[in-house]
């Protein structure tokens, strides 16, 4: 397993994709900071040209709870896209670049390679979240946001971390699609479908029963009046994640690799 992990880590480290994903999460933190800056003083924002003369930004106060809530929502929705792309790259590249065949008849079991890939994806996603949290703390401190309390901040950070873990779990079926579809595009198709359906199902009020809507509901994206999905939602997310990982492992082990 260590050998498989080392090779997957090397492949990821030598790629530009980690930098692109890090940039995406940096933009998320900066956009959150920009919203807070505008909310702090909308007149100042207008005078700086950050907000149209007649426009007004609604959606909360410029304080730590609002900022952390924004980061949680961005992790739930943006994270699904970015983590999904990580998953697609890690698995789909082996087929798009025709390197999969070099992984199939080795003394390292195929499921070990699949497990190493998932481990790298999880590590990669968690590193992105840590980056987001650190950037969020720095930006929030620089803006001098009010409402800081260690307990509230810790709660916000735990919520973002939990949402990130759920989102990472929900990307395993995308790995399966990229593997079974032998390339990037099937994975992208499943990713777009999951994000689209999550929005629709959540809007219809059944989000707690649809795993891909659950992280957004936990993040409070549906509004404070909407209750969180609770244990059922977490269970469904876990089931979807495990099912995706197991299906990917079985596919790599059993399916004909004839391309």
């Amino acid at each position: 397993m260590i050998n498989a992990l080392a090779t997957e880590f090397l492949k990821a480290r030598r790629s530009r994709v980690p930098w692109v994903t890090a940039l995406a999460f940096t933009v998320v933190a900066l956009v959150g900071g920009l919203f807070m800056f505008i909310l702090q003083d909308q007149g100042r924002a207008r005078s700086l040209g950050l907000l149209g003369a007649k426009a007004a930004l609604v959606g909360g106060d410029a304080d730590w709870p609002t900022y952390l809530s924004f980061l949680a929502q961005a992790t739930a929705v943006g994270g699904m896209v970015v983590f999904g792309l990580v998953e697609i790259w890690v698995f789909g590249r082996e087929f798009s670049q025709h390197t999969a065949k070099d992984l199939l008849a080795l003394p390292t079991a195929r499921v070990t390679i699949v497990a190493a890939k998932f481990a790298v994806v999880v590590g990669w996603c968690l590193a992105l979240v840590v980056q987001l949290l650190l950037l969020g703390l720095v930006i929030g401190a620089l803006l001098g946001l009010p409402g800081w309390s260690a307990a509230a901040a810790l709660g916000g950070l735990v919520r973002i971390g939990g949402i990130a873990v759920m989102v990472a779990l929900l990307t395993t079926p995308i790995a399966f699609a990229a593997s079974a579809g032998r390339g990037y595009l099937p994975g992208v198709g499943v990713l777009i479908s999951a994000v689209f359906c999550a929005q629709i199902v959540a809007a219809l009020g059944y989000g707690q029963y649809f795993p891909w809507s659950v992280p957004a509901l936990f993040s409070g994206l549906a509004g404070p009046e909407q209750s969180t999905p609770g244990g059922l939602g977490v269970t469904l997310v876990l089931l979807a994640g495990v099912a995706g990982a197991v299906a990917t492992g079985i596919w790599w082990r059993q399916a004909d690799q004839d391309r």
């Binding site: 090397l10 080795l106 390292t108 082990r253």
Partner: protein, 303 residues
């Protein structure tokens, strides 16, 4: 009794109604260099993929180095090196890094494995070059380097000479011969470069539409090739009449060329000359020709 390096029994692979490989049995002894010849789509690569456990046969089974292939079997692959179809590598990694990845997945930690194979495949000038920028020939060398990295007992190579220049082809041939003769490595190779196969293989199998239609030892090639006497004359009609009268059967004539395949003509061409000289139409060209492997191959698959 020695265990075969490869023992495939009645391998069949169907996709729907189409049998890509059909009831193919193959036994390759340790140390042999076995060449699998076939046209595009004949089933060579599917056969090789089944022998590498990448494709599950619809029926039949294969044993590689004494291990019967089933999903999940993986320890046997530490003794097998392979190159299937076009070589692929991680483009952003250097040649050395690509080999390091392959080495780690084979459980080889020592750096010398990578250095040795780079040296052996003459990849030293490109060791720090990204694989994505390699020429096709050097990419093929990299693919072969991955196959040889762990000094395998069995080497399975699908079209290993693809993309190589003539010097590269000769180099790979010498390398494979050396591995077989000096290290006892068993080699299964598919190729469409038939002259190379003739120089390399100890045994040849011809596969057509998924079936193994002919197998022969390379040093028995002469028994399978047809010989013929080809001659050119100024007056073909008179020459044909004279030959028919003498009991020969011209099988193919074209322009001023007459071809005889009967054993008497091929075995005693001087007697044919005597007949033609006596008939007043002496040949100005006379050659005993024989099938090369390519002709034999085409004759077998396109009867």
């Amino acid at each position: 009794m020695t265990t075969p390096a490869i023992d495939a029994r009645r391998l069949t692979k169907r996709y729907g109604d189409i049998a890509v490989v059909d009831d193919l049995s193959l036994e390759i002894a340790p140390g042999e260099i076995y060449a699998l010849l076939g046209l595009n789509g004949a089933g060579k690569t599917t056969t090789i993929r089944m022998l590498l456990g990448m494709v599950r046969p619809t029926s039949g089974e294969a044993t590689v180095l004494g291990t019967t292939l089933r999903p999940g079997v993986h320890t046997v692959w530490s003794r097998v090196g392979y190159l299937v179809e076009t070589p692929a590598a991680y483009p952003e990694l250097t040649v050395a890094e690509n080999l390091a990845v392959a080495a780690r997945l084979r459980g080889l930690r020592a750096r010398r494995h990578v250095d040795d194979v780079i040296d052996r495949l003459r990849l030293t000038p490109y060791a720090r070059q990204r694989a994505g920028t390699l020429s096709l020939g050097n990419a093929q060398r990299l693919g072969l380097a991955k196959a040889l990295l762990h000094k395998p007992e069995l080497l399975i190579l699908d079209e290993p000479a693809n993309g190589l220049d003539p010097a590269g082809v000769a180099e790979i041939r010498d390398l494979v011969l050396e591995l077989s003769r000096e290290h006892g490595v068993t080699v299964l190779v598919s190729s469409h470069i038939l002259t190379e196969v003739a120089r390399l293989a100890t045994r040849v199998g011809i596969i057509d539409r998924g079936r193994l239609v002919r197998e022969f030892a390379a040093d028995h090639l002469a028994q399978h090739v047809q010989r013929r006497l080809s001659l050119s004359v100024r007056d073909r009609e008179s020459a044909e009449k004279a030959l028919l009268t003498a009991g020969h059967q011209p099988v193919r004539t074209e322009g001023d060329v007459i071809v005889l395949t009967d054993s008497r003509a091929v075995g005693e061409p001087e007697a044919v000359v005597t007949v033609l000289v006596a008939a007043g139409c002496p040949p100005y060209r006379l050659v005993v020709e024989q099938d090369d492997l390519e002709t034999l191959f085409l004759r077998v698959v396109q009867p």
